[in-house]
């Protein structure tokens, strides 16, 4: 068992996430994290997700996923030299007296305070999951009121790009972004 970081370029159309999730569900996998957003190519979204499993089992699901029509490109980055990051927003209880101690912690982790109120601070932390875990543990004694994490996003280092696609193939394509010019039933994902 190991954690696999999988990235996929998918057409930005209704139901795509359902199709992808269905393949993992059918094989009994639990998706540990999932992050989705636009990619460098208009009309294509990029997903990063992490799953725990045996390489062979994960490969089987990836092959099934690759058969989804809307999945344009797919790669398991685990074996690649990659950069990966996660972003967390942490709302920490902070009285006036505690504020400076918390800000010290935030600075050590090169994170940011993005909101201050009388009883709380919102900290924005970016980094590897380990770094995010560490700052959360440091903040926990003060009382974490709310926590949200994006899940991992990843790409390969340097010029290696297993996700390269020919953008011209998509430029002319009829698919409009979901909802454009039509009744919005369901959304992208």
């Amino acid at each position: 068992m190991s954690t696999h970081t999988i990235v996929a370029l998918v057409q930005n159309r209704p139901g795509v996430l359902n199709r992808i999730a269905s393949k993992w569900r059918q094989r009994g996998f639990n998706i540990e994290s999932l992050a989705v957003g636009h990619s460098e190519i208009p009309g294509l979204s990029r997903m990063t997700f992490t799953v725990d499993g045996m390489t062979n089992d994960v490969d089987q699901v990836l092959k099934q996923m690759d058969k989804i029509i809307e999945v344009v490109k797919l790669s398991d980055l685990t074996e690649h030299d990659m950069v990966h990051r996660e972003l967390a927003l942490v709302k920490v209880a902070a009285s006036e007296q505690q504020r400076s101690a918390i800000i010290d912690i935030v600075e050590v982790f090169r994170s940011k305070v993005v909101d201050v109120s009388a009883e709380a601070l919102v900290v924005e932390a970016t980094g590897t999951e380990e770094k995010v875990d560490a700052i959360i543990e440091m903040l926990r004694p003060y009382g974490i009121k709310e926590l949200v994490r994006t899940g991992r996003i990843a790409m390969t280092r340097g010029s290696v790009n297993p996700m390269a696609v020919d953008p011209t193939r998509f430029a002319q394509h009829r698919y409009r972004p979901a909802g454009e010019g039509k009744a919005k039933v369901g959304s992208l994902i």
């Binding site: 057409q11 139901g15 359902n18 099934q64 999945v71 344009v72 490109k73 009829r174 039933v185």
Partner: protein
């Protein structure tokens, strides 16, 4: 440019795709489609009596003609009734385009009357599905649906169109080309891999071919035959591969696996090369995987990359269309003889003839099925249900007519036999079509006798009636200490039932009457039903226990008396009754 309604666009697209038949059922959400039927007389709508039947009919039609089947139904229950039929086409890789009416767009997601999220429901059992929300998208969507259904590894595609979209009017534009980014099925095999495969074949001393449905789908009959003859390789056909290689050919070995020929299951364990051609090493074929073909190198040819390495790891995987791959492979294969290997298999066959029928007074089910094969014309088509009769039908099928054995393999859908025979008869109106039915399966879809009679389809129904869910009874008998639960079936009078639908029926309880009934049915110009009341407790052998290895297959028990039928070696003539 002509203005058309969405429904007219659907029909126009179907016509341009060459659709001959739509198997369907009307309802509130697809009424606009029915409204346009008179404008398209070249497309014939076949009214079935249940949507599942329409799906199976389109499925069988497609398997025989090689063309995509078309089936439609209304929203909600109409769509959900299709689900079993869609799953059946999905498991057996059959290109069927399903069109469902959906509730009007403003009711979608609001639990409208007869609403079902059919695109959500069918995600895991379709190759692709669409909910069309703009009338301007219909033409491209239908075009794309046919393209995706029929290319690569074929499969069902569903298009769900709300009623209001069917009614809206727009300019019709026929897309001349289809461009689906992200969908590029590979058909040409990798030349390096093909060369490696040729080397393995040329080195092999005990090669075997396991030919599957892919041979039929890519119509690689000649190429498979050339390969087998050139390298002198015995050809084993999987359940869905039957009809992909001539049964009368001396290299044909019959079916492998759970109820396959004993000699095949042993030979697979002794082979030094196993070539899986257009098949997926299904559990019913391989038995316990870790013991499968343990002395063999595996060459696996399949068009679906996801099938490679799914169940076992081949020495040489080749992704591509069977026909294209074999065309490139065959010239690299050196002509060879493997007489010692063939003699070895013949020896196992002589010792374990597997398909033997003892001479007894009782009406044995396998005897009836064998007689149907022997007495029917060579270009007949056979459709089966699922269970014991299906396995006997597969075991005794040694015919030459390509794609003439139609059965539900992957999903194992009881009730397939009645509606699939309807599709088969529409595909081959001039040929004899036998529906070999189980008494259980027949009762699942017998409402289609109305369709049969209405469209004057001369289908011959043979109910192999052992008054039980035979295969379940056999499992309870063999693996659950004979604790028979819910397997004995109360039955209607099948003859009266046939007559009630307006077709003749016969009840056969004596062995002496079997031939006469089959001949009478074949002579009758219309549909006929024969209720063969057969021995109730006959088990299907050979039988590999669930979870066992092929080598643990239990062979057909030996019998002390005379045999009605004992297979010879090789040709169909010898396999025929002696």
């Amino acid at each position: 440019m002509t203005k058309m309604t969405g429904a007219q666009i659907v029909m126009e697209c179907l016509a341009r795709e060459g659709t001959e038949y739509i198997f369907g059922y009307p309802g509130g959400a697809n009424l606009p489609l029915y409204d346009t039927l008179p404008q398209y007389p070249q497309i014939r709508h076949i009214l079935v009596r249940h949507e599942q039947a329409g799906a199976h009919a389109a499925d069988a039609y497609s398997r025989i003609t090689g063309k995509p089947g078309v089936c439609w139904g209304t929203s909600g229950p109409g769509a959900t009734n299709l689900v079993t039929g869609i799953a059946n086409a999905w498991m057996d890789s059959v290109p069927v385009v399903f069109i469902t009416g959906a509730v009007v767009t403003w009711l979608i997601g609001r639990d409208g009357f007869q609403e079902a999220d059919i695109t959500g429901i069918t995600v895991p059992i379709t190759k692709q599905n669409y909910l069309v929300l703009d009338v301007n998208d219909i033409a491209e969507t239908i075009r794309e649906a046919f393209h995706i259904a029929t290319t690569g590894r074929p499969g069902p595609v569903l298009v769900d169109i709300p009623r209001d979209i069917q009614q809206q009017v727009t300019e019709f534009h026929w897309p001349e080309t289809v461009d689906v980014p992200g969908y590029d099925p590979v058909t040409k095999g990798d030349s390096g891999q093909i060369k490696k495969a040729a080397e393995l074949i040329n080195e092999a001393e005990r090669p075997l071919i396991l030919a599957g449905h892919g041979v039929l789908i890519s119509q690689a009959y000649d190429e498979l035959r050339e390969l087998a003859e050139r390298a002198h390789i015995p050809v084993i056909c999987t359940l869905l591969g039957l009809g992909g290689f001539p049964g009368s050919h001396e290299l044909f070995m019959g079916m492998p696996g759970m109820h396959g020929m004993y000699w095949n299951n042993i030979a697979i364990g002794e082979a030094d090369l196993v070539m899986g051609i257009g098949m997926r090493f299904d559990d019913r074929v391989t038995g316990r995987l870790k013991d499968f073909a343990s002395k063999a190198k595996i060459v696996h040819i399949d068009i679906d990359p996801a099938e490679i390495g799914k169940n076992l790891h081949p020495a040489v995987p080749i992704i591509g269309d069977v026909k294209e791959v074999l065309r490139e492979l065959n010239p690299q294969v050196v002509s060879a003889r493997h007489d010692t290997w063939h003699r070895r298999i013949q020896d196992i066959r002589a010792e374990h003839p597997s398909i033997t029928i003892p001479k007894v007074d009782k009406v044995l089910p396998q005897y009836v099925i064998k007689k149907i094969y022997d007495l029917s014309p060579k270009d007949a088509y056979y459709v089966t249900g699922v269970g014991q009769h299906q396995m006997w039908a597969a075991q005794y099928f040694w015919g030459d007519n390509p794609a003439s054995f139609i059965t539900s393999g992957g999903l194992g859908t009881m009730g397939f036999e009645v509606p699939a025979a309807i599709g088969a008869q529409f595909a081959r109106p001039k040929s004899t079509v036998w529906s070999i039915c189980g008494d259980g399966g027949f009762q699942m879809t017998l409402e289609e006798l109305a369709t049969v009679v209405e469209y004057e389809l001369p289908i011959k129904f043979a109910i192999i009636n052992n008054n039980h869910l035979g295969m379940v009874r056999q499992w309870q008998h063999m693996y659950y200490a004979d604790n028979l639960q819910s397997v004995a079936l109360f039955q209607p009078d099948f003859v009266k039932l046939a007559e009630a639908y307006g077709m003749p029926g016969m009840r056969i309880i004596e062995k002496a009457d079997v031939d006469g009934a089959i001949e009478k049915a074949l002579r009758h110009p219309g549909p006929v039903l024969i209720n063969f009341e057969v021995e109730q407790h006959e088990d299907t052998f050979p039988a590999m226990p669930p979870g066992a290895a092929l080598s643990e297959t239990v062979d057909t028990p030996t019998y002390d008396g005379e045999y009605e039928f004992m297979p010879g070696t090789g040709s169909r003539e010898k396999v025929r009754s002696q």
